[in-house]
């Protein structure tokens, strides 16, 4: 290989590029390339080569062999990506052994960063955004809440987070509904929510069709009309938001990033992203990748482009910067991103639906690890 | 001669259709019995009950002194019962010799052996080839069964039943569709069967029936219409009216 080639830094991006979750991969790619392009094509003065690997859905075995190949054959210096928790967990032993710094853009189970010293996370965890929401709900004189979450890892995480914090605040969770992951007809669950007599429903759903189905059922079965408040997190994600139509107006969520966040950094991010890929949505996945690339850039700068995992991670632990989502820093202990979480409401601005940030809860750590 | 098959008051209905009505008859060693009767009289259904494909609604079937009415097909085969099918029923893609060997392995109780190759049983391999030789199929030993001409498949059908070395053999229209030239070959094969074997044959070709059978049972509307020697049957006016038609 040519010397210039030998000096380039290799970054493996692992995510779903095919299958039902392929849009995550597309967003990772768009944001990462937008970031690199914004730095003049170089990070820390080095050429970078992005190598994409497709995991499909949650498929730890395949992910592991892909990452093994990235490390052994492609000799990547950094890894990024990861949408699903089991895929991230699968590579923990590999990156620990090979000392490869790995930035998690999305996978949101708290415990992941504990599994290897080389994990850094620029996404969010459900505890991080749910705990402030539970506190806020209690303050609104909402005493009785029903939780309705999709029955899989993140959903259970969300349910646990809400229940424990809401109880601590003196509220009651009157019923905890778990909705099977393959649910298409949400009518029955909405009827149960209605029958539970709660004042609000806290919900967590995986993106895409279930979001749509739930919110449609929420409106069609008259929940909104009968005054049962909607409390969510990623449900009004910018990727699906426009599909909801006017029925989404007024939905309340707590989240760390809104595409409508009002700051110069965010405007720059949105512009760069749209320039890279006009179809890409500015949402938690793309912002996770964008900030993830920022962390990688800082690690490259600190190590001078040489492969030195421990040094790179030591640098990452101290990072602090202005992200499109607001001010953030990497928690030195947990290697998880500490960020502001906002209360948002869906509003229609100029014919499009946006998540309007109405209140900031201030910087939040990963409450899940604090447990 | 010893009693091999004893059918007692067999009854069978398909929904509202009464196909077998109190049929009884016996088969002794050495018998050459022809079962004849109009189409739809219930001949095949009777064979199906005897061989265990169908369960009778009432009545009993005794095979070599054992009541087999409730037993499965496999147990009846082990007691020495073998049959052929009116409509060719073979494994189409297996080579002809393998087809025969399957029967031999089952007969010897080796069908569950799961380690040594089928080629490692030379005695049985040779026996299969000898059997094929007897039916003039030796050259086709490696031919997939479905590639054989129809008449040859009928021969394989017969060879399979014989491979089991049965005590009681049930043949359901073995000559159907076989030209008389080939039929002669089949007949020769039948004639060379061990004398103590009991054979029940269903056949509509009366020339053949009268040449082969030592006894004839006539079935009509599910019931036994007549049972006797070929000469008796030939002269029986009831049989003529129901089955034979013009004087044979």
């Amino acid at each position: 290989a040519a010397p210039a080639q030998a000096q380039s830094v290799k970054i493996g991006i692992v995510g779903p590029f095919s299958g039902p979750f392929a849009h995550y991969g597309a967003l990772f790619k768009a944001a990462a390339e937008a970031y690199v392009a914004g730095q003049g094509g170089k990070l820390g003065g080095r050429e970078v080569e992005l190598i994409y690997r497709d995991t499909g859905g949650p498929n730890p075995a395949q992910t592991k062999s892909l990452v093994q190949e990235l490390i052994v054959k492609d000799k990547v210096d950094y890894l990024g990506g990861f949408v699903f928790t089991p895929n991230a967990l699968a590579v923990a032993p590999l990156i620990q052994q090979s000392q490869t710094p790995t930035v998690i853009f999305n996978a949101a189970t708290s415990s992941i960063t504990e599994k290897s010293d080389y994990f850094v996370r620029t996404g969010y965890t459900l505890w991080q955004v749910t705990v402030p929401l539970a506190r806020w709900a209690a303050k609104q004189n909402i005493a009785r809440v029903v939780t309705a979450v999709t029955d899989y890892g993140p959903g259970l995480d969300a349910e646990a987070a809400f229940k424990s914090e809401f109880a601590r605040q003196g509220g009651t969770v009157v019923e905890s509904i778990r909705m099977p992951i393959a649910t298409t007809d949400f009518g029955p669950f909405v009827q149960r929510i209605k029958a539970s007599g709660a004042q609000a429903v806290y919900t967590f759903l995986p993106g895409g069709p279930p979001n749509l189905g739930f919110i449609k059922a929420y409106n069609e079965n008259g929940l909104a009309k009968s005054g049962v408040r909607f409390l969510g997190t990623a449900e009004t994600d910018e990727f699906d938001l426009q599909k909801f139509g006017d029925s989404a107006v007024g939905l309340t969520t707590a989240f760390h990033y809104s595409g409508a966040h009002d700051s110069a950094a965010n405007k720059a991010f949105v512009a760069a992203l749209k320039k890279q890929d006009p179809g890409a949505a500015a949402n938690y996945a793309s912002v996770g990748a964008w900030d993830g690339m920022h962390v990688i850039q800082k690690m490259i700068e600190a190590t001078g482009g040489r492969k030195d995992g421990p040094k790179a991670i030591a640098t990452a632990r101290t990072l602090q910067w202005e992200s499109p989502r607001g001010p953030v820093r990497i928690d030195g202990k947990t290697r998880h991103i500490t960020q502001d979480v906002y209360l948002r409401q869906v509003e229609k601005v100029g014919g499009v639906l946006v998540n309007k940030e109405v209140e900031s809860f201030g910087p939040q750590v990963d409450h899940g690890l604090a447990q | 001669m010893s009693l091999l098959l004893d059918i007692r008051d067999l009854d069978k209905r398909f929904g509202g259709l009464h196909v077998t009505r109190g049929v009884s008859f016996q088969l002794h060693a050495g018998d050459r019995l022809a079962l004849i009767g109009p189409n739809g009289a219930g001949k095949t259904t009777l064979v199906n009950q005897v061989s265990g494909v169908l369960r009778p609604d009432a009545g009993e079937i005794w095979l070599r002194g054992e009541n087999v009415t409730r037993l499965g097909q496999a147990q009846r085969v082990r007691l020495g019962l073998a049959r052929t099918f009116q409509i060719t029923t073979l494994a189409p893609q297996l080579p002809v010799q393998r087809q025969i060997e399957m029967a031999l392995f089952e007969r010897e109780g080796l069908g569950g052996r799961a380690w040594r190759s089928v080629d490692a049983y030379p005695a049985l391999n040779a026996e299969a080839q000898a059997l094929l030789q007897r039916f003039g199929l030796r050259a086709h030993a490696a031919t997939p069964t479905e590639d054989l001409a129809y008449g040859e498949q009928r021969l394989v059908e017969m060879a399979l039943a014989l491979a089991l070395r049965p005590k009681v053999l049930l043949l359901d229209e073995p000559m159907a569709g076989v030209p008389r030239g080939d039929g002669a070959r089949l007949l020769a094969a039948l004639d060379s069967l061990p004398r103590d074997l009991a054979v029940l044959i269903i056949e509509h070709d009366m020339d053949l029936v009268f040449r082969f059978a030592s006894r004839i049972v006539v079935l009509a509307e599910g019931a036994v219409l007549a049972d006797g020697s070929p000469d008796d049957i030939r002269r029986d006016p009831k049989v003529r009216a129901a089955y034979l038609g013009t004087p044979a």
């Binding site: 299958g19 392929a22 778990r178 029955p188 029958a195 895409g208 749509l212 079965n221 599909k243 | -």
Partner: protein
């Protein structure tokens, strides 16, 4: 008590959606004996066409639906003429392989053309709201599905069982050569039947879109569900499919009301029990 009513209402509505999506496959699989695993891909095509016509081309909903159904039928007919007819006599596994490949291809094509997002079919004002049932409300669209499902069931069952065409179709499938020697135009019959199956799929895709949202992976996502309905109902039995869809729909709904923690366990347990009890279909005598 209310729970029971709720289960009945929601179960029926859900079951009818299952039925309209599955009935076309019951026909192709049961009557044509063609293992068409791309059935849901045809449903997706129908749905996407309708979504495109209503949203992009601004057609009237009531006009767009028949147009989309016809378009799906046409696609089915063309595919049948070009390729699928050569597969009727092939082994089932070949049919499986080909139609899975076709589904993959259509998924990729849909993804490339329309992107990965969910496609919505905007409903006309009359259908968008809810209907008050006294003790609760029900989306009006669900009533349309119930009505349309019953109509489809009636029409299809009548065509298959009572008309000359139904007899021709079944004859052509059993022994095509002999059927044609009796004067039956088998190619026309086969092509028309396949197109009809595709049309029903498209219709189901449109009507079911409220519950089973249209996205590229639609083609594989609901395949198992549809196969379950067809199997429990008995291949080729329209009344059976209807019964199976409603029974399974009610069971699934009941499990959502009463035991949702167990996910689809009860659905599959019920399916196994029903199949074990009636291996050839619910309504088989």
């Amino acid at each position: 008590m209310t729970v029971l009513f709720n289960i009945a209402v929601d179960g029926l509505a859900y079951g009818m959606v299952l039925f309209v999506i599955a009935v076309g496959l019951s026909l192709t699989l049961g009557l044509m004996r063609f293992v068409n695993l791309s059935h849901c891909a045809f449903a997706m095509v129908g749905g996407y066409c309708a979504a495109f016509l209503v949203r992009q081309a601004q057609w009237n909903f009531w006009l767009a639906v028949p147009a989309a159904v016809i378009a799906t039928a046409a696609l089915g007919a063309v595919l049948e003429l070009l390729v699928l007819r050569h597969l009727y006599r092939r082994k089932e596994l070949d049919q499986v392989l080909f139609t899975i490949g076709l589904s993959f291809f259509l998924i990729a094509a849909t993804n490339a053309l329309a992107g990965p997002q969910v496609q919505l079919i905007p409903l006309p004002p009359g259908l968008a709201g809810s209907v008050d049932l006294g003790f609760r409300t029900l989306p009006a669209q669900r009533l349309l599905v119930i009505g349309a499902g019953l109509a489809v069931a009636g029409a299809a069952a009548w065509t298959v069982a009572r008309t000359r065409f139904g007899i021709w179709l079944r004859a052509a499938v059993d022994h095509s050569g002999t059927a044609s020697s009796l004067g039956i135009p088998i190619r026309v019959v086969q092509c028309a039947s396949f197109a009809a199956g595709a049309a029903l799929a498209g219709f189901g895709g449109i009507l079911g879109a409220e519950l089973m949202p249209l996205e590229p992976y639609y083609a594989l996502k609901y395949l198992v569900l549809v196969l379950v309905v067809v199997a429990v109902g008995g291949m080729g039995s329209i009344a059976g499919s209807l019964a199976a869809a409603v029974v399974l729909g009610v069971i699934e709904t009941a499990s959502k009301y009463l035991a949702s923690d167990w996910g689809s366990l009860f659905f599959f347990l019920a399916m196994a029990a029903l199949l074990a009890w009636r291996p050839d279909g619910l309504l088989k005598r």
